[in-house]
Symmetry: C2
């Protein structure tokens, strides 16, 4: 397929690279600045552009991978005069309906992963959730996704927003727990490295056990002495202390429900 990428952020960059590697022809890469568009355009042998007016009409598929807030503003310009082309966005929380009335063939391609510029990502292992506005469009998105990912799943916008929310918990909030742990260690002059085997095992465990089964620590037993004492250690940061207390409460609530269900 001949594909034009609009957006050269983390996801856009990784996606362009993966599409290129999968044998697709990347026509153009658009970003707001040439500095952002040029490296990935060069890598994928595409033309870098930083004005939407320079978008050509020679791609089969236009993939729009920009911030959620920019979508409503950019889509009319991107789709105009290109009816019949396939337009896709990649945002977990944005409904497919955002294309309604703007163009006639459209869909969503949502690869469920966290993308950092400095990391290589193997798309084959990523589950990809897709949607199309017609059966024909759905098949077209599905065919495209299958050239990248081994696991391609149809999912409606209504359910995808819950999937995206779950991903925020499993990735962003998890990573934030690492950040707060790093802050605590930094103040004690202990290297964050000390936590890496624990982090790896915690993540690995849930391949075999459900997270409820895998849970350990003071909040499972709701050991009030230690919970109070640990909260005290966080007195220099109101938000972190509140988070510690709310997390402990939530763990206890969920463990209580889980035990009732399994008794």
């Amino acid at each position: 397929m001949r594909i034009t990428m609009i957006g050269a952020g983390r996801l856009g960059t990784h996606l362009a690279r993966a599409l290129h590697k999968a044998g697709h022809d990347i026509a153009q890469v658009y970003s707001r600045t040439m500095a952002s568009a040029s490296p990935i355009a060069a890598e994928t042998k595409a033309e870098a552009i930083c004005h939407l007016g320079d978008l050509r009409n020679d791609a089969d598929i236009y993939i729009v991978s920009v911030s959620d807030n920019a979508l409503p503003q950019l889509l009319p310009t991107i789709c105009e005069g290109r009816d019949g082309k396939l337009f896709l966005h990649t945002a977990g929380s944005v409904s497919i309906a955002i294309f309604k009335g703007i163009t006639s063939r459209y869909g969503v391609l949502y690869p469920l992963q966290t993308f950092s510029k400095q990391r290589d990502i193997n798309f084959r292992t990523i589950p990809c959730f897709i949607e199309g506005n017609t059966e024909e469009a759905t098949y077209a998105v599905e065919d495209l996704a299958k050239t990248l990912c081994a696991r391609v799943v149809r999912l409606s916008s209504d359910r995808r927003k819950y999937l995206h929310l779950a991903a925020v918990f499993a990735c962003n909030f998890t990573n934030h727990c690492y950040t707060l742990a790093a802050n605590i260690l930094e103040k004690q002059g202990i290297s964050f490295d000390a936590l890496l085997p624990l982090i790896a095992e915690t993540a690995d465990k849930v391949n075999r056990l459900s997270p409820q089964e895998a849970q350990t620590g003071p909040a499972v037993r709701y050991d009030k002495n230690i919970i109070c004492a640990q909260a005290e250690l966080l007195s220099d940061n109101t938000t972190t202390k509140a988070l510690y207390e709310l997390m402990s409460k939530s763990i206890n609530e969920e463990q209580t429900k889980y035990r009732k269900k399994n008794d």
Copy 2:
């Protein structure tokens, strides 16, 4: 060394197994019930007991791996009449001072990992934090720890309690984020499996990037539209919703600090 294990919980069980494999002689395994003591005692060719009165005096080291709350009550009985033996506890949050006035040679052995009965754990990769009440005792704990773990670090009780707190964030709170994600998916009939590549990559990333650098998602940008919309999706669970909002606030605060520091 000839070692007696008091406690056959998750950590006690894994520790007894690792000590046995490392060539130590496990003399006895105590637990409140024979049902709990017997399997690991049989596995390590030790005697299972469920009365502290049956503790023999023929071990060099007594490792007490019971719940934090049970320690003050059990230690006097365990140590009585055995002065000169080495007594260790394994609790991250409990000070070494808990042994003071009870016996004369004591310390702490704190392997930093999460232990589940169903999982095999390779102790070589776990960092082990140790402490002794005298230089002699410290060396003795260190020597013992080195037979299990490649990375053995001396750490005072005052700093160990912060390490334990960091571990609660990096492990228990992280795992709870997985639980809440699983709950969200379960209601949508989406398999938790879909998140496994994301969870693995999130954990793997922090081997190379600091957690602050690795952070992504709506809370980094503090995208209020999506944060409000996602909080709404959690209206059926007050605690989870409050946690979502506090997490988003905390991510934004820490990212703001991080960016200021790196500007």
